[in-house]
């Protein structure tokens, strides 16, 4: 058992000696080319990025705000700059099966060129083809063909008409066809006159009509064949004329893509299609078969629509040098694999290959794709789609309706595009571990984990690196540089953020925000650099913006709404300390813990647990107390007491075991009948052997009790008992440090329950003597005596009960 000595001021705050920093301002420092303390993560990143085998994608773990994204994207950008530009990909019309657009790859930068060349070609054809058909030569040849059809018609019907007339019959055009009737002179014979003809003449005329009808049928039957031959002749002429015009123009495009066989094959198909469909290029229907009438708007729209099949839809042609690095901020299924859009035409939804829109996988193909794991998992089917693409090594554009077989409408089936990229997921650790546990494919597809440290050990080297980080951030965000006092304060703040005076937080976002806010204050002062006062001001301002609830809690204690004693002594009552986290701020405050004991069956009742306000860790801490009591006092006899523990005026949940030592102190006080000093507060968990164990939030807890004491009155005797293991974590607020330095407030490092109870009760704890008994008047002696009394009472009761049964 040792007498507790308060920690000196220099141990409750591990200051950074500004004078020892080897610079006057951070402007003198070289910006960092590697993140602070992330050597392991960077090595993993380097390995994962370099490893080109299947499944070696990366998952980057770490706290949000750690600067992972900036570090990774910068690293990958540098790496990608030295890698080859990936092949360009485009979709073109499939002339054999338009429902399955063809994916075509071209050398980098050439797809855009092909697209422009095709646009120019179509524009030129729109002018060149009508011009080719507007020549005297074409018209002449076409007239010959048309006249041949007309000649056949005319000759056939003229001969038929003459023959009919010779036989007394006339050929007459009817709305639907042609009829025959007896003729008189040049006119149809009136029926009544026909009836007056001799029967032989009537018979002759009817026979002539029957024969002429047969000939007429035969002549009309030949018309479709003449028309077919006419159409064929026109088609051949048109092909000949258009071939000449098209070959010349498309030849210019061919010359530009002579080195790309796929493009040449595509151009061959284009040429064939244009020649076969020349009419579409003859504007306003004034083509070789047009009648010269104006084309309505909808038909003109349809014309434009038809030219769409000669377009080139470039889905990927990385413009910058090197490989692409793409971050998809909204990783939905469609944003990843692309989508097929539709347009409404005449009430129907239509689509074609031009409406295929690329996704992030297309844009990142041949390079790197960065995704936020949480957002990815939040978007339905995005994760599954990503895995499918990685697994199959190809991008297949499918809508969710198709994927889930929800829609049976005809749509496009774009040809798949081979996929070769490195996917980098960025997420919290728990997401990584959950995926590892629940998704068997995850470990196969994301074999490299890059785990970013939340903090680094605070050494001279890392301190300088951190100062360089400050310089880097100032440069990157256009902020003023820090003088060394400000840098020292920022470094100390990083240690406080880490919750450990011996470590530095590597979370870049809070540091950046601190620098931005300090820069704002420096600007308001008209200073050219950030000074310590700016850092301090920024910290205080931020705390001031966020601590409304904390101030309210302190006020309630000061006003007596929340009952906390900070002076005097009370039996079975200890000031515990709790921490409340509210978003960006965490604060501590004292909580009154009371204990009452009585004869009973050896159970310690935790009121919080009974009313389900206590979490499992808290309950575990309370149960440990029973073990401690049973093991330490009269171990050979059953524990015959009942105790109850309460967090007074606690209306929310209690979690964690950091109050278990305070609860034990309250119990011991109640058992021994010794009052506990109320000017002290306690934090720390305890094990069954009475050893005090480290807890979290030690700085906030101490500061919380200090604020309450200061608000009422600092007496000089007030202080906090903390686990000795937490002493290295101390980075207390400046005013608390000053109070410690002035002897107005004390922080006691405690190793055992005995050390703590002796201080709290101002009574020696007492050690078991050679006779196996704790000295009388000590805390342990009094506790064991009380427990022995309970045991004796229990024995009497047991004997009485036996007597009753036997008597």
């Amino acid at each position: 058992m040792t007498e507790l000595v308060p920690l000196p001021a220099d141990e409750v705050y591990k200051a950074c000696d500004a004078a020892a920093l080897p610079f006057m301002t951070t402007a003198e420092l070289t910006p960092l080319d590697q993140p602070v303390g992330q050597a392991r993560a960077m090595a993993a990143l380097e390995f994962g990025a370099a490893m080109r085998r299947q499944g070696y994608n990366l998952f980057v773990l770490g706290q949000s705000g750690s600067g992972r994204f900036s570090i990774i994207s910068e690293h990958l950008r540098q790496r990608a700059a030295g890698e080859p530009r990936p092949q360009a990909w485009c979709y073109v019309h499939n002339f054999t099966d338009p429902g399955k657009p063809t994916a075509m790859d071209l050398p980098p930068g050439r797809a855009t060129g092909l697209r422009k060349a095709m646009e120019k070609l179509v524009q030129e054809l729109k002018a060149a083809l009508p011009a080719a058909f507007d020549t005297e030569e074409y018209r002449g040849r076409r007239q010959v063909i048309d006249e041949e059809l007309k000649r056949r018609h005319d000759t056939a019907f003229e001969q038929l008409g003459q023959k009919a007339m010779e036989r007394g019959v006339v050929l007459i055009r009817t709305p639907l066809g042609m009829g025959l009737a007896p003729v008189k002179g040049n006119e149809v014979m009136p029926p009544e006159e026909f009836a007056r003809l001799p029967q032989e003449e009537q018979t002759r005329l009817r026979e002539a009509m029957r024969e002429m009808q047969e000939e007429l049928e035969a002549t009309v039957a030949r018309i479709p064949q003449w028309q077919r031959e006419h159409r064929e002749a026109v088609r051949k002429l048109n092909e000949e004329v258009s071939s000449f015009a098209v070959r010349h123009l498309i030849g210019e495009v061919r010359a530009d893509f002579q080195d790309i066989p796929k493009a040449l094959a595509y151009l061959d198909e284009v040429e064939r299609d244009i020649v076969m469909n020349t009419d579409e290029f003859l504007a306003d229907g004034q083509g070789p078969t047009g009648d010269g009438t104006p084309t309505p708007d909808f038909a003109r729209d349809a014309d434009n629509h038809r030219y769409r099949r000669y377009r080139v839809n470039v889905v990927m042609d990385h413009e910058g040098a090197g490989a692409p690095v793409v971050f998809e901020d909204h990783p939905t299924h469609q944003a990843l694999v692309g989508r097929i859009e539709h347009v409404a035409r005449f009430g129907a939804l239509m689509t074609d290959f031009n409406l295929i829109k690329p996704g992030a996988l297309h844009r990142a193909n041949g390079g790197y794709l960065l995704l936020d794991a949480r957002r990815l998992l939040q978007n339905p089917y995005a994760w599954e789609s990503l895995k499918r693409a990685i697994r199959a090594r190809q991008i297949r554009i499918e809508s969710l309706e198709q994927l889930l077989a929800l829609a049976a409408t005809v749509s496009l089936e774009p040809g798949p595009i081979p996929l070769d990229l490195k996917v980098v997921l960025i997420g919290d650790r728990w997401i990584y571990y959950l995926l590892c546990q629940h998704d068997p494919e995850f470990s196969e597809l994301f074999k490299v984990a890059a785990d970013f440290e939340d903090d680094v050990e605070r050494t001279d080297q890392t301190t300088i690196q951190f100062a360089r980080l400050l310089a880097t951030l100032a440069g990157r965000h256009g902020l003023r540089h820090l003088d060394r006092a400000a840098a020292a304060l920022a470094i100390e703040q990083a240690a406080r953020s880490a919750g450990d005076g011996g470590r530095l937080s590597t979370r870049v976002r809070p540091i950046t925000e601190l620098l931005e806010e300090a820069d704002h204050l420096a600007a308001a002062r008209g200073s050219e650099r950030i000074e310590a006062a700016d850092i301090r001001g920024a910290l205080e301002a931020r705390r001031g913006r966020l601590d409304r609830l904390y101030r309210r809690a302190v006020d309630q204690i000061t006003e007596g709404t929340l009952l906390i004693d900070i002076a005097g002594n009370r039996i079975g009552q200890v000031n515990g300390l709790s921490v409340t986290s509210l978003g960006e701020i965490a604060f501590g405050r004292p909580v009154r813990i009371t204990a009452s004991v009585r004869f009973g069956r050896g159970n310690v009742v935790d009121i919080e647990r009974e009313v389900e306000l206590g979490g499992p860790l808290h309950s575990k801490g309370v149960l440990i107390l029973s073990g401690f009591l049973a093991g330490r006092y009269l171990p050979e006899k059953p524990l015959s007491l009942s105790a109850s523990l309460v967090f007074e005026q606690s209306y929310g949940g209690v979690e964690g075991d950091s109050a278990s030592s305070a609860e034990l102190y309250a119990l011991l006080s109640a058992l021994a009948g010794l009052p506990v000093r109320q000017d002290l507060a306690v934090t720390g968990s305890v094990n069954q052997h009475g050893e005090i164990q480290a807890i979290g939030g030690v700085n906030e807890k101490i500061e919380g009790f200090y604020d309450v004491c200061r608000a009422r009155k600092l007496t000089g005797s007030q202080g906090v008992l903390i686990p000795a293991a937490n002493a290295r974590h101390l980075m207390l607020r400046e005013d608390v440090v000053e109070a410690v330095r002035a002897g107005k407030f004390a922080v006691y490092p405690v190793r055992t329950i005995d050390d703590g109870i002796a201080l709290l009760c101002s009574t020696p704890a007492g050690e078991r003597g050679a006779d196996g008994v704790y000295p009388a008047g000590t805390v342990n002696g009094l506790v064991e005596k009380r427990i022995a009394a309970f045991a004796e009472a229990a024995g009497r009761l047991t004997a009485l009960a036996k007597g009753d049964r036997h008597g």
Partner: protein, 266 residues
């Protein structure tokens, strides 16, 4: 000569149609023609009475042009078919007039073509004759257009041969008469409206002034053979002839042999 380009005197254009077939090109071209002359358009659809006589025969029938099959024909069937055709023609007429930005109306008359046309037109009208039936149909109708041309002595008459580029090029023959002057005015108006090439053939050595924006090709010859020669070498879409010259050349044979439309101007 005054510049009367595009305004050769507001007239009424009558397109007289005999027979059946696709009337869209006919009516569209007539509407554009009327619009270029700033004239109204009337379509005269003549239902030949011969049809009704034919349908009155108990053994009447027709061979379908679509199927080459013989179908019996009764008078009631014919009435229905004629009514349907007239309605279709009316819709086509309205559409063509709307496209050309003019007013147009359709009139259906039952009777002989020549008599019906004579009865429907007024002096000063421009009459466009269109017979849709194949040449063999109607038997002795050849010469009908020539007969109508003779009878309509106070109207300009266009003997039609409709084609896709009916206004591509225009040729005018000037014989030095008043009709020749009107022929040139009409040709100039049409050439201006349709942006067509205009050729003027002076057959009387008189060179008339033309509107400054027109730069026609000109040839001069008193011999009518040059007209035929021009037609052989470079057939115009429309040949505009003064009436006297048309009578000497023979307008209807010219249409049948050259394939161009001939407008006879009084």
């Amino acid at each position: 000569m005054a510049d009367r380009t595009g305004d050769v005197g507001a007239r009424h254009v009558v397109v007289a149609i005999s027979g059946f077939g696709d009337l869209r090109p006919v009516l569209r071209q007539a509407a554009r023609f009327a619009a270029s002359l700033k004239a109204d358009l009337s379509a005269l659809l003549v239902e030949d009475e011969s049809l009704h006589r034919m349908a009155a025969f108990p053994f009447a029938g027709q061979v379908s042009l679509a199927t080459a099959q013989h179908m019996p024909m009764q008078a009631s069937d014919l009435e229905r078919e004629l009514l349907a055709f007239a309605r279709l023609a009316e819709r086509t007429m309205a559409e063509a007039a709307r496209e050309a930005g003019i007013t147009g109306r359709m009139q259906t008359i039952r009777g002989q073509f020549a008599a019906s046309v004579r009865g429907a037109v007024r002096p000063g009208d421009l009459v466009m004759l269109y017979a849709a039936s194949p040449p063999g149909a109607g038997g002795g109708r050849r010469g009908m257009a020539e007969a109508i041309l003779t009878e309509l002595s106070d109207c300009d008459v266009l003997l039609q041969s409709f084609s896709a580029d009916a206004t591509r090029s225009i040729a005018v023959c000037d014989d030095g008469t008043e009709a020749g002057r009107r022929a040139i005015e009409t040709g100039a108006a049409l050439a201006h409206a349709f942006a067509s090439q205009l050729t003027v053939i002076d057959v009387d050595h008189k060179i008339r002034d033309l509107p400054p924006q027109l730069t026609p090709r000109r040839t001069r010859d008193t011999d009518l053979s040059i007209v035929r020669s021009v037609l052989r070498q470079d057939t115009p879409s429309i040949l505009i002839l003064p009436a006297g010259l048309a009578g000497r050349i023979g307008a209807e044979p010219l249409v049948q042999t050259s394939g161009c439309a001939v407008l006879v101007v009084r």
